[in-house]
């Protein structure tokens, strides 16, 4: 069975290590915070100017002056701080953020990512994504393997305008966990019950398949 969005987030949460500063993009990445182990210390950064982001507020406790970069109402945890955008992007460009988790419309086998614009459609802008992908040492992409029409989103070359070039390290999709290696998608794990054939069919880019590919464990 292909993974649900929650399960994609749950699998990515395993990549989050003790002491990390982590930036979460809009969509599936936001869900990752719910699955991070409780016995490790992780600080979530939101590029609009919050470090130490907590869970969504309880109903009625929301504060219009406290939102994340996706404009969702949030809370802060003890030790949190607020800062302006220049400070926020100093953290990002200065590589102080350990891990960035983003959604994507397309990823190519050399690690290019397109996640901000579909030509002809209205968008508000790229947001912090361009700075994040240009600076982050470690970028994990959470995405669906194919679009609604069934076309692959893991491509030889992206067709949409790029957000960043040669920057994605790892992809967790609803079908598989893959790593960008030698200009290819290296298959690391597959969703429980999903065959290698299914993954091959859903991947337009070049796949490296070595040995037996274990199923994703949570």
């Amino acid at each position: 069975m292909a993974l649900s969005k929650e399960q994609i987030a749950q699998r990515i949460a395993k990549e989050v290590k003790d002491g990390y500063y982590v930036n979460l993009g809009i969509g599936i990445p936001t869900l990752v915070a719910n699955f991070v182990r409780k016995d490790i210390e992780v600080d979530f950064q939101s590029e609009n100017g919050v470090l130490g982001m907590g869970p969504f507020p309880f109903e009625g406790d929301e504060d219009p002056d406290l939102i994340n970069a996706g404009k969702q109402t949030i809370t802060t945890l003890p030790g949190a701080s607020f800062f302006d955008s220049a400070m926020s992007f100093s953290m990002i460009r200065g590589q102080h953020v350990d891990l960035t988790i983003l959604g994507a419309m397309e990823v190519s086998q050399n690690g290019d990512i397109a996640n901000w614009k579909i030509p002809g459609k209205m968008v508000k802008g790229m947001g912090g994504a361009m700075d994040l992908v240009a600076s982050a040492e470690n970028i994990i992409v959470a995405m669906m393997h194919t679009n609604r029409a069934g076309d692959s989103k893991l491509l030889k070359k992206c067709s949409l305008p790029l957000t960043g070039v040669n920057c994605v390290k790892k992809i967790v999709s609803n079908l598989a966990v893959l790593e960008i290696v030698n200009n290819s998608f290296k298959l690391l794990e597959r969703a429980p019950g999903v065959s290698i054939e299914e993954i091959k069919k859903a991947t337009e880019g070049d796949l490296i398949i070595e040995g037996t590919i274990p199923e994703i464990k949570f």
């Binding site: 507020p57 969702q72 949030i74």
Partner: protein, 93 residues
Amino acid sequence: MHLLEHAFNADFAFVKAWKGDAAGNLIFKGSARNFNPNMCGAAKITVAEVEELVPVGSLDPNQIHIPGIFIQRIFQGNNYEKRVEQLTVRKRN
């Protein structure tokens, strides 16, 4: 490879802060700080709207986010209706 972005110069900047005094010192609230402090220094004339305009001397200098030198006009707004664009909450147990 690098990309040099030149500083942005504006004639006017309009910013919204939480508290301010007649000297133009500003304090922002929560994540509403955002680009506001940066724009204060980027414009020839910065107009600041504050939720609470307090007498000079009543703000703790340690707590000021933007010194008044960057602010040319200040006023207290009223009838605030703060809208939430995306309400995300969790249920109380």
